[in-house]
């Protein structure tokens, strides 16, 4: 009973927040609604017993990603309302719904035919974090490390791109200009 109440409540809240995110004309509202939606989603993870995932969701999304967006927004002129020139709304909604239904159909088809076998079953008597750790550091060790490298690369890229002197692009400057600059440096 408690589970059902919690599910419907959070489902309602999440959908509302996300609808606000995609419809509002104020960037700040959208950001706030997105952050709230993320936290509400973590609730589902807790309900589903994926405690670790829920914690990560809050930390990474609501903490890191949202903070990044917030800082990013400082660069842009977000005070003016975002203009949205719309085409046909029905087309957009129809297409989205259709795509979503099809995705579910494909994902759900194997479950309907009941031919799913657990590849890495949860081990009873262990907490979720223990389970996650066990799988993550045995079966998924290589992807895990790769993800770590990817995050590092992303971090470096973020710093470099948003860093100083980025008002000029090396790729968009032609070779002759680069040569002149290099000579200047050597001379000075």
């Amino acid at each position: 009973m408690f589970e059902a109440v919690a599910f419907y409540l959070f489902a309602f809240l999440t959908i509302t927040m996300f609808i606000i995110t995609v419809t509002t004309s104020q960037a700040l509202y959208a950001l706030t609604a997105l952050a709230a939606g993320m936290i509400f989603i973590s609730a589902f993870f807790f309900i589903l017993g994926a405690d670790f995932l829920g914690a990560i969701q809050i930390i990474v999304y609501t903490g890191a990603v949202m903070a990044l967006y917030a800082f990013g927004m400082m660069f842009f002129d977000t005070t003016r309302s975002v203009k949205e020139k719309q085409g046909n709304k029905f087309i957009i909604t129809g297409l989205s719904t259709l795509a979503a239904v099809l995705v579910v159909l494909i994902v759900g088809a194997p479950m309907v035919s009941n031919n799913i076998v657990a590849l890495y079953p949860t081990i009873d008597g262990m907490g979720n974090v223990q389970n996650v750790g066990l799988i993550l550091f045995t079966k998924y060790l290589v992807p895990f490390e790769l993800a770590a490298v990817m995050l590092l690369v992303a971090m470096v890229a973020g710093i470099v791109l948003a860093g100083k002197k980025m008002d000029r692009s090396i790729t968009l400057t032609n070779d002759a200009e680069l040569e002149i600059e290099k000579n200047k440096k050597v001379l000075s």
């Binding site: 795509a99 995705v103 494909i106």
Partner: protein
């Protein structure tokens, strides 16, 4: 002996390939010399082969390699040198040697000097394949090869439109006939299972007459095209657009006699179907008269000689059709000699007169061109059949064969034609070499040809004079192969016939001289009475046959083609192709808007694509699930 066979065959090929190397370069004298030497090598090898055949009587038969072998079909590159083919080889190599040497002088100032020798030697090679092959397929290769080379040589001066037109006409006419020949070959293979001469000839005896008749007719259609018999004769006169040495070699001595050679080679077939033979003889007789009549009035020196060639080919077919194959072959040999001589003489005259062809504009050239005059007179005497020159022996034997076969109509027509022949040959001689010097009106300064050209022509002169004496040895040589027999007519009758013929011919010659060698001859201007007579108009217009072809075959064909072009090709085929192209083009034009560069639009299209792919996945999944797999 095989060695000499291969030398005789491949020396012309080497010569052609050698000259081919220099076709793109300016005139080089040594190409002509090398080519001539190689052809002379071929002549020497052929002579050695001839000696061998004369001594031993054994044909040389070699199989160089297998050409094709599939199932029951076996066609080798095999070569046979027997009494018949060695005769042809001698004719071909002798005339071509002379012509090669002669052409060094004749083509002296031509830009295509090297190219000329490449074509000419290629022709000799094709002709050698034609005569030496031991099967019909090889003969057909040579047949097509000479056709191609003839096309290239008639159209040698391709910048002249009339030359290219004549080349195409000759080629197309020959193609029509070649189709008949090809059908004949298919019939032979179908019925006998082989294309080898010996195998096919042996099998012919078991075949029903009807089949043999069809084979004979279709083969003869091929021969008609190549030898320019009626109704496929128009190309030969137009082929005179080519250089004169080409006319001498191809359109007098060798290629046009290939049809006669085919009939002689297939004599075992034609002796089984005498009714077809009679048809051939009748057609030959008709062509002899028909062509001679056109030669009477023509005002183009080379065309007159071309018509006389046609007429003489008619004689050969008449002989072959009557079963006198050896006589046909003998006349072929003798004719090759004196006709090439006449053509080369005409070439000298042309050279001297700056390519003037109308004999009415010449006259009195005897003084400046003494040697050419002598050669032309002897050639004409031989052609007219005056004793003791070559033509007398061969032509007289044809008449005897007709007489002893009791074909009196053929005999009469051929005899009459002999008179016509004498008249038109000496009309030409008289107009060119005797009478007033009319050329002075046109400001030409004629000169004798180069000395070496005259020397080169001398072997032909010799042939024209002495070949008649060789009749008996020749008969001894080929009688075994061609099942020939000599024609014996009662002695006094023969003597009367001989004297009668000679008198007739002599009178014709005399009449020609009286009429054309006097000083009253003027350049015709279309006003004289004879020029307006119906007969003259009929003859000068070649019986209106070219007009009829143009009017009733070429024009309807062109209209039909135009119909197919305008209606079928443009409206159906092109429209279909264009339609497909425009569909694609329009699709591109319409979908170009998708590439607006707007990310939002692109995302929308991406979602559409995603949906399509997902739908396909779903549909495919269901299909797999419910198809019972």
């Amino acid at each position: 002996m095989e060695k000499y066979l291969y030398i005789a065959l491949f020396a012309p090929l080497v010569s052609s390939l050698f000259s081919l190397l220099f076709t793109a370069t300016p005139k080089k004298l040594f190409t002509g010399i090398v080519a001539s030497l190689l052809i002379i090598t071929s002549l020497i090898s052929s002579s050695i082969l001839l000696t061998h055949i004369l001594e031993t009587g054994e044909p040389i038969h070699v199989t160089m390699m297998t050409w094709m072998q599939t199932g029951g079909l076996y066609i080798p590159f095999g070569f046979l040198v027997d009494q018949v083919s060695v005769t042809m080889m001698m004719v071909v190599t002798l005339v071509s040697s002379v012509v090669h040497v002669y052409a060094i002088g004749y083509m002296d100032h031509d830009k295509g000097f090297n190219r000329f020798f490449a074509w000419l030697s290629a022709f000799v090679f094709s002709m050698m394949i034609l005569v030496m092959s031991d099967n019909y397929a090889g003969l057909f290769i040579g047949w097509e090869g000479v056709g191609l080379c003839s096309w290239g040589l008639i159209g040698f001066w391709f910048h002249k439109e009339s030359a290219t037109w004549a080349a195409n006409e000759a080629f197309i006419m020959n193609r029509i006939a070649d189709l008949g020949m090809l059908i004949g070959l298919f019939l032979i293979y179908w019925n006998t299972g082989t294309l080898q001469y010996d195998g096919a000839f042996a099998a012919f005896h078991q075949l029903p007459t009807a089949t043999l008749t069809w084979i004979g007719i279709f083969l003869f259609i091929g021969a008609m095209g190549k030898s320019a018999q009626f109704p496929l004769h128009t190309w030969l006169a137009d082929a005179m657009e080519g250089p004169t040495p080409v006319s001498a070699l191809i359109h007098a001595a060798t290629m046009v006699t290939a049809g006669v050679y085919l009939v002689i080679r297939s004599h075992e077939l034609y002796s089984l179907i005498p009714h077809v033979g009679l048809f051939i003889a009748s057609l030959g007789t008709f062509v002899a008269l028909f062509a001679a009549s056109m030669a009477l009035v023509n005002r183009d020196m080379k065309r007159v000689i071309a018509y006389s060639t046609l007429s003489q080919l008619g004689y050969m077919f008449a002989a072959a059709g009557l079963g006198a194959y050896w006589v046909a072959l003998f006349h072929l040999m003798a004719h090759a000699g004196f006709k090439a001589l006449l053509f080369l003489g005409a070439g000298n005259v042309m050279h001297a007169m700056k390519d003037e062809l109308d004999p009415f504009k010449m006259g009195g050239l005897k003084k400046v061109m003494k040697w050419t005059w002598i050669m032309m007179v002897i050639g004409s005497l031989a052609l007219a059949g005056v004793i003791p020159f070559a033509g007398f022996f061969s032509k007289d034997t044809i008449l005897e064969a007709a007489y002893s076969g009791n074909h009196m109509v053929i005999y009469g027509v051929l005899l009459f034609t002999a008179g016509l022949t004498a008249f038109y040959s000496f009309r030409l001689v008289a107009l060119i070499f005797h009478g007033e010097e009319r050329y002075k009106l046109f400001g030409v300064h004629p000169h004798e040809a180069y000395r070496f050209m005259l020397v080169a022509m001398s072997p032909l002169l010799l042939v024209a004079i002495v070949v008649g004496i060789l009749q008996t040895p020749f008969f001894d040589m080929v009688e075994e192969v061609l099942n020939g027999h000599e024609y014996h007519i009662e002695h006094t009758l023969a003597l009367i016939m001989l004297v009668g013929t000679q008198l007739f011919v002599g009178l014709a010659i005399l009449y020609a001289y009286v009429k054309y060698a006097n000083s009253k001859i003027k350049v015709p201007d279309g006003t004289s009475k004879i020029e307006n007579s119906f007969a003259y108009k009929l003859l000068i217009n070649q019986y209106y046959i070219p007009y009829a072809y143009e009017e009733y075959i070429v024009k309807p064909y062109r209209e039909l083609s135009e119909f197919f072009w305008q209606k079928i090709d443009v409206k159906v085929v092109d429209a279909t192709v264009d339609g497909i192209a425009s569909i694609i083009y329009n699709t591109g034009e319409k979908t170009r808007d998708m590439q607006s560069g707007n990310l939002s639009t692109m995302l929308r299209w991406m979602v559409v694509g995603l949906i399509i792919l997902l739908s396909l996945a779903v549909i495919f999944g269901f299909t797999v699930k419910y198809s019972g797999v």
